[in-house]
């Protein structure tokens, strides 16, 4: 629902608000310093901010690095902080908030954020902590031609349907391993568990505490689903992440995939693949469990934050510059770089999967302070189960034990 509204509002505001909007860069002569990851959508936002406001700032400095997440807490702790703004995602916002390194933005939004939509505002306990500009999630990719050839009716909507479709494809002799998933040991395999566990309606922690609660019937069910899917995945699945799964898909060696929405654009373009693959690839919502309603995915956003340890006027100038870039003109110029949450986004076929998944009511990647530790434990300990050398219960209790040790060290338990 949110997404439909979002798109509607986007179209309307394209004609009304944006053309009247002129960049307001806040206080003059301030230093603006941004730390961000290195991908096109973030470059688009930062470019727009720079071209609008670099003139009125004394310094406009950007650091796009793959190591942003590794250095951000150390960079922002001193006073004054190294950067006035860090561009974050769900998980990295938590990482900064754990050390109190981002400031509430309510006043600034009131002053400069007239053109922002209410669902761009990320609030924690009622206070705005970040402004989101793009969305992402995992979802299903499928090949219509192969499903048709092997006699699968309609789009598989549940994990059981996916598994039986995969079996039909195998039985028809079309592909031995029709599924691709990002199951690389570590973060990726942990994330796959998260999505399926959420689809089963699981909760990661006991309410109000940092005690893990995944070793339960839902956790076991999620692992059994994973195991059933893995049967149909490429034999090297424990080493495969996005680049590999995308490569397999483009080479026409998969019929059903669970991959990131942000890869949709490059999979559907005419590079690196054949017309047979691209014309028959359709992006759809992540599956649910049979009888369930929650798609097996975690929704992600990327957004801007402002540092705590900088002067108020630097914070104001940085905020003004960054939100001045979030316009429909910017989106129009970079429409296919991301699934924008900003006014003016025209969703193409590459955005269909993410919006269907979000509309289906998928959960956001959980923003618990201690989530990273649990995710890491999942990534390291589930592999024994997937390799078949451990039972599901044993794997889950290992995860909880590893998490507990780490959480004690980090002070959460």
């Amino acid at each position: 629902m949110i997404f439909k509204k979002l798109i509607l509002v986007g179209f309307i505001s394209l004609f009304f608000s944006s053309s009247l909007y002129a960049a307001d860069c806040g206080p003059n002569g301030q230093s603006i310093r941004i730390l961000a990851s290195d991908f096109p959508a973030i470059h688009a936002i930062a470019n727009a901010a720079e071209s609008n406001c670099a003139g009125s700032a004394s310094e406009f400095n950007r650091n796009h690095t793959t190591e942003a997440r590794q250095i951000m807490n150390a960079a922002q702790t001193p006073n004054p902080a190294e950067y006035t703004s860090v561009i974050v995602a769900n998980s990295t916002l938590v990482q900064l908030m754990n050390d109190g390194l981002v400031r509430p933005l309510d006043d600034l939004v009131e002053k400069y954020g007239g053109h922002l939509k209410s669902n761009q505002l990320i609030t924690v306990d009622g206070k705005i902590m970040a402004i989101a500009f793009m969305a992402n999630s995992q979802h299903m990719y499928y090949r219509t031609d192969i499903l048709e050839k092997s006699g699968v009716d309609g789009i598989p909507a549940t994990y059981d349907e996916v598994i039986s479709a995969a079996e039909k494809i195998r039985a028809a002799g079309i592909m031995e391993h029709p599924l691709v998933m990002n199951l690389k040991v570590g973060w990726n395999v942990g994330e796959v568990f998260n999505t399926i566990y959420l689809a089963h309606g699981g909760e990661f922690f006991k309410p109000g505490s940092a005690e893990a609660s995944i070793n339960n019937a839902k956790g076991v069910a999620a692992l059994e689903t994973m195991k059933a899917l893995v049967e149909y995945a490429h034999e090297d699945h424990l080493t495969q992440a996005s680049d590999d799964t995308q490569g397999l898909w483009e080479a026409g060696q998969a019929a059903i995939g669970f991959m990131w929405g942000s890869r949709g654009g490059v999979i559907l373009d005419n590079e690196g693949s054949s017309a047979e693959v691209t014309s028959n690839t359709v992006l759809s919502a992540a599956p649910t469990v049979t009888g369930g309603s929650i798609p097996g995915a975690t929704l992600w956003w990327d957004g801007i934050t402002i540092a705590t340890n900088v002067s108020d006027s630097e914070a104001e100038a940085t905020f003004a510059a960054l939100v001045s870039g979030m316009t429909s003109e910017m989106v129009a110029a970079n429409n296919d770089d991301a699934i924008w949450l900003i006014d003016g986004f025209k969703p193409g076929p590459a955005a269909a999967g993410v919006s269907a998944t979000a509309q289906g009511g998928a959960k956001s990647y959980p923003m618990f302070a201690q989530m990273g530790l649990l995710h890491n434990a999942l990534g390291a300990e589930l592999v024994d189960f997937l390799k078949g050398s451990e039972s599901a219960e044993q794997a889950l209790s290992d995860v909880e034990a590893v998490y507990e040790t780490a959480a004690k060290d980090a002070g959460y338990l």
Partner: protein, 344 residues
């Protein structure tokens, strides 16, 4: 040499090492004895573009107050070293009691990260090191026998495995050993097995990592041995030839003894570097079947959103300790050399 002259000469070197290595080691050690203060956790309502959820956050003000009192954190003694992430003494004790045979116990041992990592690290160290030494020596002897004009290009080509940055080198090799890649497909043809996958089987993964390690480190031992061969005294060789020694006898009785100090130097460096094996595991995405001590540190520091300095510190200390044990024979020899030198 007088103390003051010694100090003058070695001051720059000693001071950078003191500042950037010695002090950090001490602070890492102290850090490994502490854990974080109890975080004050509050329940919050978080809203994002997709809806609202009740989650928990850290009450940073309350947590900061605790931190101010004792910035190092809560003293934990050596408990980090003995917890489940490291030596897991309690868990092992229980596993010992509940196992009815030694194999069952070893299988349980393998469930704990440190022991799992140690098993690969030590195997890797003790297989790769001798291979690199031996093959490097053979290549050095071979290149030494080449006509002069080929030597330069050969040396450069031999250095390539060391020069090409592992970041991309392993990416390309990883693709090559894929079932669809050139090496993987060739192997499948040779063994006539279409499901042969170097990445899916634990044994093949270990072999693949070790072959890569040998390939990557060969240039180091090659170049040092090759250089050593240039200094083999020609007179001794000629004398041996006149005495009727065969080529192998000459190598066995003249060349190898001459290169012995070099071999010790290479062994020392190789043992140390192999014990810290890390890059191939990441490059070949082999975490499913092989982890190493350095991989554990990386995992503690980078992979969770919260760097576990105490765990990483403890693992680093264990690394240093492990290296010291590995090198002990060499160290004792150096000590003897040193005493001998000062007698004379």
């Amino acid at each position: 040499m007088k103390h003051s002259t010694f100090l003058l000469f070695s001051l720059p070197s000693l001071s950078v090492m003191f500042l950037f290595i010695a002090i950090p080691i001490v602070s890492v050690f102290i850090q490994s004895l502490h854990i974080e203060h109890k975080q004050v956790i509050i329940v919050t309502e978080n809203c994002d573009p997709f809806g609202c959820e009740t989650t928990t956050s850290v009450d940073t003000e309350a947590s900061a107050k605790l931190k101010e009192k004792a910035p190092l954190g809560k003293f934990n003694g050596f408990k980090t070293y003995s917890n489940r992430m490291h030596f897991a003494f309690d868990e092992l004790g229980e596993a010992w009691k509940s196992s009815d045979s030694f194999t069952v116990f070893v299988k349980k041992l393998y469930n704990y990260p440190l022991y799992r990592a140690l098993s690969f690290t030590l195997t890797y160290t003790f297989i790769v090191t001798p291979f690199v030494l031996f093959l490097g020596f053979l290549v050095a002897v071979g290149v030494n026998n080449l006509p002069k004009m080929f030597k330069g290009p050969t040396i450069f080509a031999s250095l390539l495995p060391m020069i090409v940055t592992p970041l991309v080198g392993s990416l390309i090799l990883f693709w090559m050993v894929d079932g669809d890649g050139v090496i993987g497909a060739t192997l499948q043809k040779i063994f006539n097995d279409n499901s042969l996958s170097l990445k899916a089987s634990p044994v093949l993964t270990w072999i693949m990592l070790m072959v890569y390690g040998i390939w990557h480190l060969m240039p180091f031992s090659f170049i040092v041995f090759y250089a050593g061969l240039q200094t083999v005294p020609q007179e001794t060789i000629e004398a041996a030839t006149i005495d009727g020694a065969s080529k192998f006898q000459r190598i066995r009785h003249v060349v190898i003894p001459h290169l012995m100090p070099l071999a010790i130097f290479i062994t020392l460096i190789l043992l140390m570097d192999n014990f810290r094996v890390f890059e191939p595991i990441i490059g070949f995405k082999a975490e499913a079947h092989a982890t190493s001590i350095s991989w554990l540190i990386w995992n503690h520091l980078r992979e969770s959103a919260y760097p576990l300095y105490n765990a990483a510190g403890a693992t680093s200390m264990i690394t240093i300790f492990g290296v010291a044990i590995l090198l002990l024979p060499v160290l004792i020899r150096t000590w003897r050399d040193f005493k001998e030198k000062n007698k004379g």
